[in-house]
Each structure stands twice: as structure tokens, then as C-alpha cells.
Amino acid sequence: MKDALVRSKKVANWKNKGNKSVLYLLVIIICAIIVMSLLDPKFFTARNLLNILNQQSTLGIATIGVAIAMISGCIDLTVGNLLACTAAIAALLLNAEVGVVWVILLTCISGLAAGFVNGLIVVKTKIDTFIATLGLMSVYQGLALIIPGGNNIYLRGKLASFGTYRVAGQIPIPVFYFIIVAIIAYFVMRYFKFGRRLYSIGGNPETAFLAGINLDRNRIGAYAISGFLASFTSLIVISRIGQSQPAMGVAYPLEAIAAAVIGGVALSGGRGSIPGVFLGVILLGLIRNSLNILRVQSFYQYVMLGVVIVIAVTLSNLGSRKKV
């Protein structure tokens, strides 16, 4: 009797640790794959599945940054426009004949610096993070136009292999980037004190503060990571499409937040896991891909996608919802 109680509590703990949403997501994803495979044989092919992963890798990397900020209780809406800014910077540097390694390095540093500034502004002004980054979002939107003079900048084949190379002639390299970033993020959030601090701050800022955790410094760190990952994403995107565009990435912030929430990250912070976020991004891609294969008109796709997001989040929150 007592053993059973302990066991059931252990199961409860395991579920509570955010694994529950991972579990639900896996079930949902497997169901979706089975249903789609039955509906259309084109779906369950290595080519199509790799395609989904490749498609989602850019949003995925940006989402991991956004999710890390969310876990610390902060919303980051800047990633999309910031991504367009660093894309322009990278493109200009490439056209100025700067070496590729330097371009990658400088772009990522600029993203990191921008994220740091975002964090600094958010913690120092103490404005609600949603509003503060909404304002900053507009600033980056402007900068994304100012930096390249409002133009698309073409790369003329430079940096092409960064985002389009296929490992062993098969697997697109962005898939590897996405997986590597996810693994690193998983370790940072799970085994680094920094990650533990972010969860603690998001879970209960007052308690974290009284336990000696520096709220400001850690939150700035989270924003810096988010900015860094956005800039890294921008490199993949421009490499793929061969140009930088001032309006690229505008849909990122909301899609990233949606993917993170599907993955079990709480909007209020403190809850969520990187594996969950990874699966959340995959699920979004899966749905979009399925709708394409089923030839659902793109207008209707938006509607379906929205419905699916709401259903998925409802399912993954089942049981943990409060009555009120």
C-alpha cells in the first residue's frame, strides 16, 4: 500500500517535472505521423521528414532562445526584427569581402550584444517585458531598414554552403545546427547553475532574490542568449535564400512563443524543458507540412494551424490546469 503510494508519487513527480508535456507531445506527434502516413504515402518518407526538420530548424533555433527567456519569466518579441538586422549586417560584411569566419563571428557578436542591450533595458526600466520588447521590436524593425538602406542585399553565392550543405549528401546541415543547439541548451538549462537560476527566477522571483540570486544579471543573460540565437538563425536564412530582406522574420516572435508554449513552457515562467520546446517546434512543422501535402489552401492553413495550436496546448496542459 505504502509502496504503491510512493510509486504513484514518483510518477507524479516525474510528470510534474515538465515531462508530462513532453510525453503528451510525443503521443500527439506519433498520432499525427500515423494518421498522415495512412492518408498519404508521400508523407512517411525520409526525404519528407528531413524536409520538415530542415524547414523547422531556423524557427527552432530562435525558439530555443525565446524559450530560455520565457523560462526566466521574460517575453522576448525582438527576435524576428533583430534577425533581419543581423542578416543585413552579415550581408553587408560579405559584400565588403570580409572573410566568412569573421562574418559569422561578427554577426553572432552583434546579436549577442543586441540581446544584452535588450536585457539591460528590460531590467533597468522595469517595464513589463512584453511591452518593453514590443517597443524594442519596432526599433529593430527600423534598424533592419536603415542598415541596408531599405534594400534587399544579395549574397551572390557567398555563404551558400552554410545553410544548404548536405551532410553525406543527404542530411541538410541546419538540422544538425538545430539538434546541436538544442543539446547544448538542454545541458545549460539542466546542469549549469545558470539554467537552474533561470528556472528559479521564473518560478518565484521573490524567493530567488532572497536566496541571493541576482535577478537582473541572469535575465540579461537570457536575453543575450536569445539575441545570439536569433543572429545565428539569420545566417542560415540568408544562406538559404541568397539575400537579406528587411522584412524577414516578422512572424518569428509569435510563432516561437506558440512553439514554446506547445512545448510546455509557461508564459508566466519557471516551467518548461528544452526537449519539450524541440518537440513543439517539430509539431508545428509537422502540421504545416501535412496541410501542404493534403493541398489545403494556404488561406485555410492559417486557420487550421491556429486551431491546432489551441488544441495542442490544451491537451498538453490537461491535468495541470487550475479550476479558476
Binding site: Y191, G203, N204, E206, G212, I213
Partner: protein
């Protein structure tokens, strides 16, 4: 029987129990028109329960409430409002961005022919009302711009405007200056003159003696006595408030105090609730802090812990002056603070025992990685030595009992190597068995040579545990009681009686 007609409210044999306590026990109470009836009692005497029953937030288990000749077994908030019972809070229930006049007549604004609010008429009526109550306020001022005492007088005016018959004021003067208190008392008297019955609850006996027509003393949920005007002295009231049997209470083991080693706090002020507080705590000593709610004890602990910013204050740890401006720095100097509200500020409820235990240690240790194995081993040790009852260290703390939660918070600080430990209401909401374990742990820490500060509103507990007791009143130290001076009567005398 003319008195019968003047009776506004009668409470007959009302009782209310909570699990484990009889909060209110067969109490009779009445209130006449035009009377100020004061209610006094220690923390936990049943005053809040009483108010909540009258405002309809709590239902009595037995007894009746008679208002306007009608009997009720219980009230609810809407009914209480309808019957003219108004509880005046310090800040709540005013619309911050409306004017004084709009707030006073909220929902009942005079209108013109078109059905729109006639501001001319509104301001006129408001001014007349404020004048009649001798409240000196601009009726067109936004409530947001007022200070707390002014907001309170607006609330009273609002209650007068809807012709409420019974006002309840609960600790209305917390953090008020003498001048502001006198204004409020004047206003309350004015309302009573207009026929309102006032129930006035306060820790401050001077105020009570200034304003009362009658005084009712509560103790442990029982009514001790009701006195008429000028029938009693403050000494007698205090004697009636105390009288719990301390001897039956916990007897602690003695710890040796090293009087040569001390942590000294000099001149701590935050400009409002803590004013120039200085004291010393010695190695192995449990120093108690007594005082009524609002006397500044919790604020003081936050100040010395670096959680709030201070105007002045120096900390000297064993002869060495230390600068503490954040909890982080305090923790590095060996401070720990078990906060009053452990669920909100002591732990992260959705995380595990292990997580919560290592929270403060996290910042104290070197390196950027978490050594999970080592941490788990250490946490298990604390779980064992403090006898925390949990199925595993992975258990979510939300699922633990209050006593075990408190032990997790204590484990957190011990793991962070604390030597100066502040316990703020350490046993609030904890069952008796766990209470004793917390006491034992505290004495054990004292024996190990830690410095212990203990804040408690549970007087028998404070008396049983502490070597000396600092009595606070209105943000200042009223008296430091040595071991032989400690008694419930002395503590009460200094925390509520006399003049400052």
C-alpha cells in the same frame, strides 16, 4: 426599553472553529447607535474572525447575529452591505483614477436632464458632506494623489454617503503619524455623533482610551469582559488580555551563550516602518522580537537582510563591519532569513525538495556546473538530519505539509552555511508536532553557536524560546527584556500600552 430601540447590532453566542482551533467561542456582543465600541486583544485573540463574520466573509458555526431586530444565522457580503455594515480598509475599494467626489458617490452620481452625470451637483454634494464631517480635502482631487489617511477619510465619507449604520475599523492607524491619528479619531467621533455605531479595533491602547464608549476584551476567541467608559485602567485591560498558561508550554534545553561574541546592528531605518533600531545578538542566543502586527518587525528583518533599501544602518559581525546591500551579500556574510510567508517568499512551490534545498547554496559554491550526485547526497543528509518527511528528494514541495516545508526552507539556509538566522513567524500554520521539531532545531542551532533572531506573534512560544526579547512598537524598540523580565504582561505593556 428605549435602549432596545437604539441597538444596532447584537451578536449572540457566536462561535467559529477552524481545524485545531476554536477561533471564536460563544461570544456575545452588542453595539448601540452613536457608540464607539472598541475591541482589543492579542494577535490571534479572534478579532479578525469577528470582523469577517460581521462583513459576511465567514459564517459562524453557531449563534445568531441580530441587526435591526431581525435574526440572521450568518451574513454574506452583499447582505452585510445592504444592512449598512461597512468595513473601512486603509486603501482597498477606492477607484484610484476617479476624483474624491466621484468615489464618495460612486454608482449614485447625481444626473442632469439628459441622464448624464452632473458634475456641478456632484461636487456640491461632496463638498457639503466633507464639510459636515470636517474633512479638509479637494473634492476634485484624484484619489491616486492622496495619502493613506486621506484615502481612509474618503472611505468614511463614502460610507456616510450611503447612510451606512455600522462602521468597522480594523487597525485603522497603522503607520500613521500622531497628527493623522488625531484627525482620524476626530472623524470617527463625528460619525458616531451622527448616529453611526462604530466597532473600532486597535492594538494601541492610547487611541482606544481616547475614543471608546465601551471596550470589549477578547482572549483566545473568548470574550473576557466589556467595560463602560472610564471604568478601567490600561493595566487592567492588559491583565485581561494575557493569562494564557505559559507553564504548560514547550520547555527548551539550555544553550550556552557566549556573551563576548556578538552581531551588532546599529541605527537601522527605512524612513517609514523602521526608525533607528539598534540591537545586539550574541553567539548561541535566541533573541526574540515581540510587537503587534505593523510594529515593523518583518520590515526590520528585510532591512538587515539587505532585501529592502535603507536610509541608515550598520552591521558589525563579530567585531567586523560588513556592508550588506543585497540578500546575496547578506548570505555571503552568513545571514539567513526564513520569511514569514514561506510559500510566497521562501520556496519555489513547483520545484522539488532537492531544488529548493540547494537554492541558496547554488550561489555560495564555486563553479558553473551543478554536481547532481554530490548535491543529492548533501540534500539527503539535510533531509535526514532535519527529519523532513518526504517520499523522495524529488518530491514537489507543494505536496509537503507546512511543517515539512518549513524544514526544507531551514535546510536551504543550513546548506548555505548560515550562522545568523532570522526566523520570522517560524511556526505559523504548522501543526503542533512539527512546531516542536522546529523549536528543537532552533535550540540545536543555538547550541552550535549560531546567532538566532526569532519573530513571533505567538507569545507563549516567544517566551518559552527566547533568551531576551526586543519589544517593538511603531518601528522603534520600546524595550529590551532580559530573561528574568520576560512575561506576557511586560511584553504587552511595552508593545501596546503607555506612550511613546
Amino acid at each position: 426599553m428605549s435602549e432596545r430601540e437604539n441597538i444596532l447590532l447584537e451578536v449572540r453566542q457566536c462561535s467559529k472553529s477552524f481545524p485545531g482551533v476554536k477561533a471564536f467561542n460563544k461570544v456575545d456582543f452588542d453595539l448601540y447607535k452613536g457608540e464607539v465600541h472598541c475591541v482589543v486583544g492579542e494577535n490571534g485573540a479572534g478579532k479578525t474572525t469577528f470582523i469577517k463574520m460581521l462583513s459576511g466573509a465567514l459564517h459562524p458555526d453557531e449563534g445568531t447575529i441580530i441587526i435591526g431586530g431581525k435574526e440572521y444565522s450568518h451574513l454574506n457580503p452583499a447582505l452585510a452591505h445592504e444592512l449598512g455594515i461597512q468595513t473601512i480598509y486603509q486603501e482597498l475599494s477606492l477607484a484610484q483614477d476617479l476624483t474624491v467626489a466621484e468615489n464618495i458617490f460612486v454608482g449614485n452620481w447625481p444626473t442632469n436632464r439628459l441622464g448624464l452625470v452632473s458634475f456641478e451637483e456632484l461636487y456640491k454634494q461632496a463638498r457639503m458632506l466633507l464639510d459636515s464631517l470636517k474633512i479638509d480635502l479637494d473634492v476634485q482631487a484624484l484619489v491616486r494623489t492622496l495619502n493613506v489617511p486621506q484615502k481612509q477619510s474618503v472611505q468614511i465619507a463614502k460610507a456616510m454617503a450611503i447612510e451606512a449604520k455600522i462602521f468597522i475599523l480594523d487597525e485603522p492607524t497603522a503607520a500613521y503619524s500622531t497628527n493623522e491619528i488625531n484627525n482620524l479619531l476626530g472623524l470617527v467621533k463625528k460619525c458616531a455623533e451622527n448616529g453611526v455605531g462604530v466597532i473600532y479595533i486597535s492594538h494601541h491602547l492610547e487611541e482606544v482610551f481616547d475614543i471608546h464608549d465601551r471596550i470589549t476584551v477578547l482572549r483566545d476567541g473568548n470574550k473576557v469582559a466589556t467595560h463602560g467608559k472610564k471604568e478601567v485602567s490600561s493595566e487592567e485591560i492588559i491583565r485581561e488580555m494575557v493569562g494564557r498558561d505559559v507553564s504548560k508550554f514547550y520547555t527548551r534545553e539550555k544553550a550556552d551563550i557566549d556573551w563576548a561574541e556578538a552581531v551588532e546592528f546599529q541605527d537601522f531605518s527605512d524612513g517609514g516602518s523602521v526608525l533607528g533600531v539598534s540591537f545586539k545578538v550574541h553567539k548561541g542566543e535566541i533573541l526574540g522580537f515581540a510587537g503587534m502586527v505593523g510594529s515593523g518587525r518583518t520590515e526590520l528583518t528585510r532591512l538587515i537582510f539587505g532585501a529592502d533599501s535603507r536610509i541608515s544602518g550598520t552591521t558589525i559581525v563579530e567585531g567586523r563591519k560588513v556592508g550588506i546591500n543585497s540578500p546575496r551579500e547578506a548570505i555571503n556574510e552568513g545571514f539567513a532569513c526564513l520569511t514569514e510567508d514561506r510559500q510566497k517568499t521562501g520556496m519555489i512551490l513547483q520545484h522539488s525538495v532537492e531544488w529548493n534545498t540547494m537554492l541558496a547554496h547554488l550561489n555560495n559554491s564555486r563553479g558553473i556546473f551543478i554536481n547532481e550526485k554530490l548535491e543529492s547526497k548533501n540534500v539527503r543528509q539535510y533531509v535526514k538530519s532535519l527529519d523532513i518527511k518526504t517520499p523522495s528528494i524529488k518530491q514537489i514541495v507543494k505536496n509537503l505539509s507546512g511543517g515539512n516545508q518549513q524544514k526544507v526552507v531551514l535546510a536551504k539556509w543550513l546548506y548555505a552555511n548560515a550562522k545568523i538566522i532570522i526566523f520570522d513567524e517560524p511556526t505559523r500554520g504548522i501543526d503542533i508536532g512539527s512546531k516542536e521539531e522546529i523549536y528543537k532545531a532552533m535550540v540545536e542551532l543555538a547550541k552550535q553557536g549560531k546567532y538566532i533572531l526569532m519573530i513571533s506573534s505567538d507569545m507563549p512560544e516567544l517566551i518559552a524560546m527566547c533568551d531576551r526579547i526586543v519589544v517593538m512598537k511603531k518601528g522603534k524598540i520600546a524595550k529590551v527584556l532580559d530573561k528574568e523580565e520576560i512575561s506576557e504582561e511586560n511584553i504587552l505593556t511595552y508593545s501596546i500600552g503607555g506612550t511613546l
